[in-house]
Amino acid sequence: MSQPGGRALSVEVLQAKHVGTGHSDISKHEWLTNQHRDTLASHVGSHDHLLFLAVGQNESAGKVRADALEKMLEPCGPKPKTAEAEE
């Protein structure tokens, strides 16, 4: 991403605009959490896809939708404890 003049956007600005963007020090968990959220948002956002999932899982569309929204909170579970955090 760059500005009109060709200068690159700073990481903070980019991050503020687009939450799912990453950087060179991102952890696997963070990256995947973003992916999951994007995916779930995509499901919720396109109704046809939602109906498809509902049929596939034999659930009501509303339930699938609510589940997806619920799951977005922590889609991949809690943040894994790193060596630093344990210290």
């Binding site: 991403m1 760059s2 060709g6 690159a8 980019l14 605009k17 687009h18 799912g20 963007t21 990453g22 950087h23 060179s24 991102i26 696997k28 968990h29 990256w31 995947l32 992916q35 999951h36 994007d38 995916t39 779930l40 995509s42 499901h43 498809f52 999932l53 049929v55 596939g56 899982q57 997806a68 889609p75 991949c76 579970g77 809690p78 894994p80």
Partner: protein, 1206 residues
């Protein structure tokens, strides 16, 4: 200068006041002595009349000063648009000064262009240190301030009592009394009066904190610079006032006294030249010797008379004055041939040959010796203490930054930033701040030093706290600088400072300045506070502002508090909306303050708030409506002006019926003030009328009946047209009135004035008519008015002055054009007359008149066509053709543009003269280097090439092609563009081969700009004649092993791909091998240009089934992602972005996944950059392509929903 002890001062002051003889004291003990001494001398020296005059002058200037600062506020707010651009009192003065100083490079010394008001920055006092330089606590500072204020009030009171007792006669009387009263009776009184200004004068001077800094010592240390001061101890500041007394040699005594005082002060702002000139004047006015008189007069016929017995020469000791000094300088010591300015003065850094500095230290300018003189002393490093070494290091760095070459500056800047913490805040600021206060400082130097502060601030962070006030004193003046960038810089520094020091420290430091006695200090402090508020959040400052605005102790505090809110409103604009209610509540009671100034600023602040809040927030102003509307019935003069202004800004926020009601309320006052003689009031009244009328609530009938008659009576008079600002305001307001009541009402009233004898007035009428007709059209205008209008416009056009400024002439010209165009076909009957006028004026001997006539043809050509006057146009065409030999380029340009507009409307075939005659006449004109001629000529030629190319033979077109090549490098972009598109037209007309040949040859030239334009032209030809006509030729040309040519070809292809868009899908496989070669070239410009081309190519073929080709090219582009050069890497990433559009993000994802978690950070960084760009552009499509992951411990990474399928 000796520091003063406040307590003893006060005691002394009281004691002296108690004395019945009226001897007044200044605030300072040494001044007291000085004043006393002077009194006796004065009595002997001046007769009473002179002394009285002097007093008058002093008092007057004092008052006018105060008025000025008050005016400032109104004026400042008065120009709503310019408010941001000119916070200073007289912006025009500076513009003029700067113009006089040329480009501003040679003399940009800041102190030279400062107004008196700006100069007051030198009077600021350090509040936070006492006489011994100890830090004072906040409480002590506030106490000192309190004492100061009380003292000032007391002095003021005493002055008033004196005046009442008649000890100081009112100013008007002074002149008459001096002639009638006898000296004996008045001596005592006069003496005391004389004393007064001395005391007054002493007050603002107080202690100058910069004297305390050790820099002054440098003067003694460097004899070269010090010599200047030794020679002429009586420095310039005294010169201005002194000059009057110079005639009497007796003044020497005073001068000596002055000189001693001045010498003690070491006022650094002295200009040595002034002293030189003074010396010369004294030398020239010296009494003639007998010998000289003998030489002048004939020997016979004259007799020397003895002087009368009672004559006593007035001069006391002028004979003692050493004339030999002058002899040494020469007969005319004031004259000298100025030295050729050194390169440095032009801003050109000294090259290696010219450097006089030693050891890589830049040359130290004469005036900088006092700061950097220490560096020239030879000292052994080992003898120096640690602090001294540090000091020297900082000094070297600062010198490098201030007067070094750009590389020196760069390293200096970097080192001082890197080592800021090591040096410490104290040593750094102790050196930087005095430099910034130097009277010799120039713009560029100030900019650099401010930059240093900015960088250092960032590094030091909270360590700057002790220096906040010192920094503010230096930076605050930037906030009212006339230079926009200086203001921005000042704001940035203060905001950084606020962030580094924190709100509490900022408030504690700036609080004492809020009720400072000096208006200048309060003004700058208010602005600085506004900056702090925006930096740290307006919300946080509101409680403080609330307290300040309700201060009971001093009106100054209330005034400043309200002003802070005004400045915040100006600074953050609509950002104040969340706090609007609170802010209005805070200042409401200022409207009924007992101090006039507080009421005024409060009204102005409301205006600023309403302006910033527009069109929202009327409910916040509910509380102030009553006091405002009540206020306009109570106030007069400036106060009223401010109130009206606030009303003018609040009314547009209101709902329709409210606006109508309140407008009716205020209107009688406004109409009454129509006749106010005050210029400021006039402008505000006009502005308010405009604002009121523009609201929908006010009806046309009301405006027509109530406002218009008085409005025209008072504002449509000649005098209003003379002042630029009045003129603009009247025009704007009338335009707004016109929008409300319709065109006829206005035009009918002023159309006769088009024949007025005053030209500026005619211009004002014309401008209003132009604006009204543009806004409303001419449909309402009836036959009779139409005749009067055309008649008036013709008169005004013909009678306009020849040597007016360009913009003045365009008013008449545009006006004519607008009138004719808005009347449309109704003009038919007048066209003959108009054409006659034009023809007559085309023959005029003044170039401007000819140019206007030609321009007018351009403006009315469309209407002529609409009226069916083809024959007339043909005739005009021939007339213009005959004038193509015009020698003034401006006129020639206009004639060409007139021809162009005729050709445009009557078409190629009907054009007279025929095109085949016209074009050959234009070819030589293409050689003309004048921009206006070039532009119009190329346009005309392009027009002909576009529409009537077949009327001219191919040979002529080739000739034009060669001329056009030269024009490709014209400095003006529009000419480049016009000539490039003309290439396209010509190529289309005569076939691409010949043109292309010329263009390809042109790729070999050295001039880069020429080559770039050529590549654009090639691309245009490709677009207009089809890529297949040129691709073989340019791809063949790529085989020439020459850098410029190959790059030119690539660039041409890049432009071509951009222009032909989707068409490129037929060529992608044909040109891919060429791109492969370019992307594998060693030269990175090859790769960069190829990347740019591929980007356009990929964007063009997106969705057209060329994924295969794009992926193939991507494989060649990809290795370039690790390029270092910013141009190459940007081009490469752009190409990848383009290809992403063509092949979709998920294919690209496979490339990106390889490096997202690479062990090397540099690799990861670039891969994430590409990933992010993909995410931003095509985040949603990426959902389908995220890689499959497996669960890991507690974390369920698998994306199960994506695996569902029916």
């Amino acid at each position: 200068m000796s520091q003063r002890n406040v307590d003893s001062d006060i005691a002394e002051a009281r004691a002296s006041r108690a004395k019945a003889d009226g001897q007044r004291s200044g605030g300072r003990s040494d001044d007291l002595k000085f004043g006393g001494g002077q009194t006796s001398v004065d009595d002997a020296m001046y007769d009473a009349g002179q002394a009285g005059e002097f007093v008058t002058e002093m008092v007057e200037s004092d008052h006018s000063d105060m008025d000025e600062s008050d005016d400032d506020e109104v004026v400042d707010m008065g120009t709503a648009v310019n408010k941001e651009a000119s916070p200073s009192a007289q912006p025009d003065d500076f513009a003029e000064l700067r113009e006089r100083n040329g480009s501003g490079v040679v003399n940009t010394r800041i102190s030279d262009r400062e107004s008196d008001y700006h100069k007051r920055r030198n009077n600021r006092v350090a509040l936070d240190v006492d006489s011994e330089g100890n830090k004072l606590s906040y409480r002590e500072i506030m106490e000192n301030q309190e004492v100061e204020r009380e003292k000032a009030e007391l002095e003021e009171k005493v002055r008033k009592i004196r005046e009442k007792n008649g000890e100081v006669a009112p100013q008007e009387e002074t002149a008459t009394t001096t002639t009638t009263t006898t000296t004996t009776s008045s001596t005592a009184a006069k003496g005391s009066r004389w004393d007064e200004p001395a005391a007054e004068e002493a007050k603002p001077k107080r202690r100058r904190r910069w004297d305390a800094t050790p820099v002054a010592a440098g003067v003694d240390a460097t004899p070269a610079a010090g010599g200047k001061w030794d020679e002429t101890p009586s420095a310039a500041p005294a010169a201005k006032k002194r000059s009057r007394w110079d005639a009497t040699p007796a003044a020497v005594v005073v001068e000596k006294l002055n000189a001693q005082a001045k010498e003690a002060k070491k006022d650094l702002s002295a200009d040595p030249r002034a002293t030189l000139i003074e010396q010369e004047m004294e030398f020239r006015n010296r009494p003639m010797t007998d010998e000289e008189i003998n030489n002048l007069l004939p020997a016979s016929g004259y007799k020397i008379l003895p002087p009368p017995a009672d004559y006593k020469p007035l001069r006391l000791n002028s004979s003692k004055k050493d004339m030999s000094a002058y002899a040494a300088v020469g007969q005319t010591p004031g004259f000298m041939i100025a030295q050729t300015p050194v390169r440095e003065e032009y801003g050109i850094p000294l090259g290696p040959s010219g450097t006089e500095g030693v050891d890589g230290i830049p040359f130290i300018k004469q005036e900088d010796y006092q700061y950097f003189g220490k560096l020239m002393e030879d000292k052994n490093e080992s003898e120096l203490t640690k602090e001294e070494i540090k000091e020297r290091q900082i000094m070297v760095l600062l010198l490098k930054i201030k007067s070094g070459t750009p590389p020196q500056r760069k390293t200096g800047m970097r080192q001082i930033t890197d080592r800021a913490r090591e040096f410490g805040a104290g040593p750094l600021f102790n050196q930087i701040l005095p430099l910034l206060m130097s009277p010799m400082l120039e713009d560029q130097e100030r900019h650099l030093l401010v930059k240093v502060i900015d960088r250092v601030l960032y590094k030091l962070d909270h360590l700057v706290r002790p220096y906040v006030h010192k920094i503010l004193v230096v930076i605050e003046p930037l906030l009212i600088d006339e230079d926009y960038f200086a203001r921005i810089e000042g704001r940035e520094i203060i905001s950084n400072l606020a962030k580094a020091a924190g709100l509490a420290v900022m408030i504690a430091t700036m609080r004492p300045d809020i009720d400072n006695l000096d208006e200048y200090v309060r003004n700058t402090t208010a602005r600085a506070f506004a900056v702090v508020a925006t930096a740290l959040g307006v919300q946080n400052l509101l409680p403080f502002l609330k307290a300040v605005c309700r201060s009971k102790k001093s009106w100054q505090a209330r005034h400043t508090g309200i002003k802070i809110i005004q400045q915040i409103a100006i600074l953050v604009g609509c950002g104040i909306l969340p706090y609007l209610k609170e802010m209005v509540d805070i200042i409401t009671q200022g409207l009924t303050d007992e101090q006039q100034k507080v009421r005024t600023i409060c009204a102005l602040t409301l205006a600023a708030l309403a302006e910033a809040a527009y069109p929202y927030g009327i409910e916040s102003f509910d509380g102030v409506l009553r006091p405002l509307w009540k206020g306009i019935k109570q106030h007069r003069g400036k106060g009223l002006a401010a109130f009206l202004k606030a009303i003018g800004y609040i009314i547009p926020l209101m709902e329709d019926n409210h606006a109508n009601h309140y407008t009716r309320e205020v209107m009688p006052i406004l109409i009454r003030e129509f006749q106010s003689p005050d210029e400021e009031m006039k402008k505000i009244v006009l502005k308010v009328i405009k604002q009121c009328v523009s609201t929908t609530g006010v009806t046309a009938t009301y405006v027509r009946e109530e406002i218009l008659p008085d409005f025209f009576k008072h504002f449509w008079i000649r005098r209003m047209a003379l002042d630029r600002r009045n003129y603009k305001q009247v025009v704007e307001t009338t335009e707004e009135l016109g929008n409300k009541v319709g065109a006829v009402d206005i035009i009918d009233k002023i159309v006769e004035d088009l024949k007025d004898e005053s030209e500026p007035y005619r211009r004002m009428v014309m401008e209003v008519i132009t604006k009204i007709l543009t806004n409303l059209g001419a449909s309402e205008i009836d036959q009779r008015l139409e005749e009067r209008l055309i008649d008036g416009v013709l008169y005004a056009f013909q009678e306009q002055g020849v040597d007016n400024a360009a913009e003045e002439n365009t008013i008449m010209l545009d006006g004519f054009g607008v009138v004719v165009n808005s009347l449309g076909v109704r003009c038919k009957v007048y066209l003959k007359q108009i054409a006659g006028t034009i023809k007559w004026r085309l023959n005029n001997k003044s170039a401007t008149v000819r140019m206007q006539a030609a321009d007018l043809i351009g403006k009315i050509a469309v209407v002529m066509k609409a009226c069916g006057e083809d024959q007339l146009m043909g005739h005009l065409g021939i007339v213009l053709y005959e004038y193509l030999g015009e020698e003034y380029p401006e006129v020639l340009g206009s004639i060409l543009s007139a021809l162009k507009s005729i050709v445009n409307v009557i078409g190629m075939t009907k054009m007279t003269p025929p095109i085949q005659d016209l074009l050959p006449r234009l070819t030589p004109i293409l050689k003309n280097r004048h921009e206006k001629v070039q532009e119009n000529c190329v346009d005309l030629v392009g027009r002909i090439a576009d529409r009537g190319a077949e009327m001219v033979n191919a040979k002529e077109w080739m000739r034009i092609c060669f001329e056009l090549l030269e024009m490709l490098k014209a400095p003006k972009k529009s000419i480049q563009r016009a000539s490039v598109s003309t290439f396209g037209y010509i190529a289309k007309a005569i076939g691409p081969q010949d043109v292309l040949h010329t263009l390809i040859n042109n790729l070999k030239v050295q001039d880069r700009q020429n080559r770039v334009c050529t590549t654009v032209a090639i691309a245009i030809v490709a677009e207009s004649c089809g890529p297949f006509t040129i691709l073989p030729a340019i791809m063949n040309e790529y085989r020439v092993p020459e850098l410029n040519i190959q790059n030119g070809v690539l660039k041409a292809m890049s432009f071509m791909c951009e222009y032909i868009g989707e068409m490129s899908k037929d060529y992608i496989f044909a040109i891919a091998p060429l791109f492969e070669d370019a992307l594998m070239d060693r030269d990175n410009v090859h790769r960069q240009t190829a990347c740019a081309a591929i980007r356009h190519l990929a964007l063009g073929v997106a969705g057209l089934g060329c994924e295969e080709g794009c992926i193939h090219l991507l494989n060649f582009v990809w290795p370039n992602i690790f390029e270092q050069s910013p141009h190459v890497i940007n081009a490469c990433l752009d190409a990848i972005d383009g290809i992403m559009v063509a092949i979709g993000p998920n294919y690209l994802m496979l490339y990106v996944l390889q490096g997202l978690f690479h062990p090397a950070r540099r690799v990861r960084e670039i891969y994430w950059r590409i990933y992010n760009s993909m995410y931003v552009y095509a985040g949603h499509s990426m959902v389908a392509g995220y890689p499959r992951m497996e669960d890991e411990g507690d974390n369920g990474y698998a994306m199960t929903t994506m695996e569902v399928f029916i």
